[in-house]
């Protein structure tokens, strides 16, 4: 326990330093945030424009789709903010920087995560929270708790996939493009009611790449639409736990691959 607390404390300190670093370039930071908002906004603009003509998408109203969109964006931002430095993992391996990380007495993953703060992704968070707040259906306290758990769970699902793929980079495989593609699939397909996808695609987006569990499944619970899911309602209610389980699994994969890490020796 003391070990965990110490890790958390050090993580907090390193992140504060990273944030101070990012704040040195204020204009760059501002432009990054604005770009994030515009980027996510233009994605939602598509939904807004088409739902001007068609009142329902897979049986969902504009407000319901907006809620789903906001839930996914917020979860996504919550994953990217701490994990954005994983993008540079290939570089750390190739340049032998990872050797330094391994020598320090702090969890290597925590050190890598603390290398940079994904301040640019604050724009994603902003866009997501705004959509959530505007479109949120009336919720009782229990549902609010579920909503918060769902956001964290969704972030963990995305983080788990990303971490598991990144682990392979420790064996000198370049997975950057593959990870970008997985992220792209989460972003593209995660924000729509799964009813619009055909049987096979829907099945794959639920059980092969768990895109549905990031936001669609929990949003269905909160919008009282569990009847249309292809998983049983109790499973849907437990969906935030799936994120925890997947992340624990991905972390094990990471530890295993880390043991096989061979330095480039340069």
């Amino acid at each position: 326990m003391a070990e965990v607390l110490r890790t958390l404390r050090l993580y907090g300190r390193l992140q504060r330093a990273a944030a101070r670093g990012a704040l040195q370039y204020r204009l760059n930071l501002l432009i990054g945030v604005v770009t994030g908002v515009v980027y996510q906004g233009s994605g939602f603009a598509f939904v807004w424009v088409v739902m001007h003509t068609f009142p329902s998408m897979g049986g969902w109203s504009l407000r319901e789709v907006a809620f789903l969109y906001g839930l996914r964006l917020t979860a996504h931002a919550l994953y990217v903010l701490p994990f954005s430095s994983l993008i540079g993992l290939e570089w750390l391996v190739r340049e032998g920087e990872l050797d330094r990380v391994l020598l320090r007495p702090l969890n290597p993953l925590v050190q890598i995560m603390a290398k940079r703060l994904g301040v640019g992704q604050v724009g994603d968070l902003l866009a997501g929270v705004v959509l959530l707040v505007i479109a949120v259906p009336p919720l009782n306290p229990g549902m609010i708790l579920f909503c918060l758990a769902a956001v964290v769970g969704g972030a963990l699902v995305e983080a788990a996939v990303s971490l598991a793929l990144a682990s392979l980079s420790l064996r000198a495989l370049n997975t950057l493009a593959l990870r970008a593609f997985a992220d792209d699939l989460f972003s593209k397909f995660g924000s729509y009611p799964m009813g619009v996808f055909g049987g096979a695609a829907r099945w794959a987006l639920t059980f092969v790449l768990p895109v549905a569990f990031v936001a669609y499944v929990p949003a269905s619970v909160l919008l009282d639409r569990t009847g249309e899911l292809i998983v049983p309602a109790p499973v849907a209610c437990g969906s935030p736990l799936l994120g925890v389980a997947l992340f624990a699994l991905a972390y094990r994969v990471w530890r295993r691959q880390l043991r096989h890490y061979q330095s480039t020796g340069s």
């Binding site: 990054g32 424009v49 001007h52 003509t53 619009v196």
Partner: protein, 260 residues
């Protein structure tokens, strides 16, 4: 004049082909995008016949084409200029006897050719996913697309030139990409844009990079409208040429060579 430009085009082509794994992933992302749009739109139509003058089949063909076009013609030169201004190597480009803008235009053309080459294996897949049939207006399509490409190229050059003032075009070119894709109608045909948004999209030149050629292809724009579109495109090119010339005259006096 021609030889050095052909050289630039060759470099642009090689540049595109050098990052093959990235391109393969972005081709996969393109297929995923077309697939997503197909699913979403099919569900939206839900058995309705024509909406805003477009049948579902025509719409799906439109979307596949517009996305293929956007992919193949995506601008690279703002990134190149950005990098070369930042590192000061733009000095070498400027000291060559061939003009800077023609160099960049040739580079972009080469890059686009490379993009078309990389895209070739994906075309059958996208055509199949997007159910595209031969067009009734091949000449109109080719003309609007070619002129649209020239407009897109000139807009990219304008972004490059802005870099001589701001020294930093990363964010501007990303914003440009987002805005141009949206108003080009790669996800929604312009005929679906409501009210003021529709008026704005119609007035901006971005539609010539996606919507107009693709709509001509599927027959959504036809007859005299094609001729009018071509005329407006030519007018845009003339206007952009004047603007580019005026901005460039000022810009190249402002050149800052960083580092040394």
């Amino acid at each position: 004049m021609i030889r050095p430009l052909a050289g630039m085009a060759r470099i642009g082509l090689r540049f595109q082909l050098a990052y093959r794994s990235d391109v393969i992933m972005s081709v996969l992302a393109l297929v995923a995008q077309v697939f997503l749009l197909r699913m979403v739109w099919t569900s939206l139509y839900g058995g309705q016949g024509q909406t805003r003058g477009l049948s579902l089949e025509a719409l799906l063909a439109y979307l596949s084409l517009a996305n293929l076009q956007a992919f193949a013609t995506s601008p690279i030169i703002p990134r190149i200029t950005h990098f070369r201004i930042r590192t000061g190597t733009v000095f070498f480009d400027l000291s060559r006897p061939t003009g800077y803008l023609p160099q960049m235009a040739a580079f972009q053309a080469g890059h686009t050719a490379g993009g078309l080459l990389m895209l070739a294996p994906a075309v059958p897949v996208v055509l199949l996913v997007g159910t595209i049939t031969p067009t009734a207006h091949p000449v109109g399509y080719a003309a609007t697309l070619a002129l649209g490409y020239v407009i897109s190229l000139m807009m990219s050059l304008l972004i490059c030139v802005i870099g001589f003032w701001t020294l930093e075009t990363g964010a501007i070119s990303l914003l440009y990409r987002l805005v141009s894709h949206f108003f080009a109608g790669t996800m929604v045909p312009l005929s679906f844009f409501p009210g003021a948004l529709g008026v704005l999209a119609d007035a901006l030149p971005f539609k010539y990079m996606g919507y107009v050629p693709a709509a001509v292809y599927v027959g959504h724009i036809s007859g005299g409208e094609i001729g009018r579109a071509v005329a407006v495109e030519v007018a845009w090119i003339a206007a952009l040429a004047v603007l580019l010339w005026a901005v460039w005259r000022r810009a190249h006096r402002r050149v800052v060579i960083q580092g040394g």
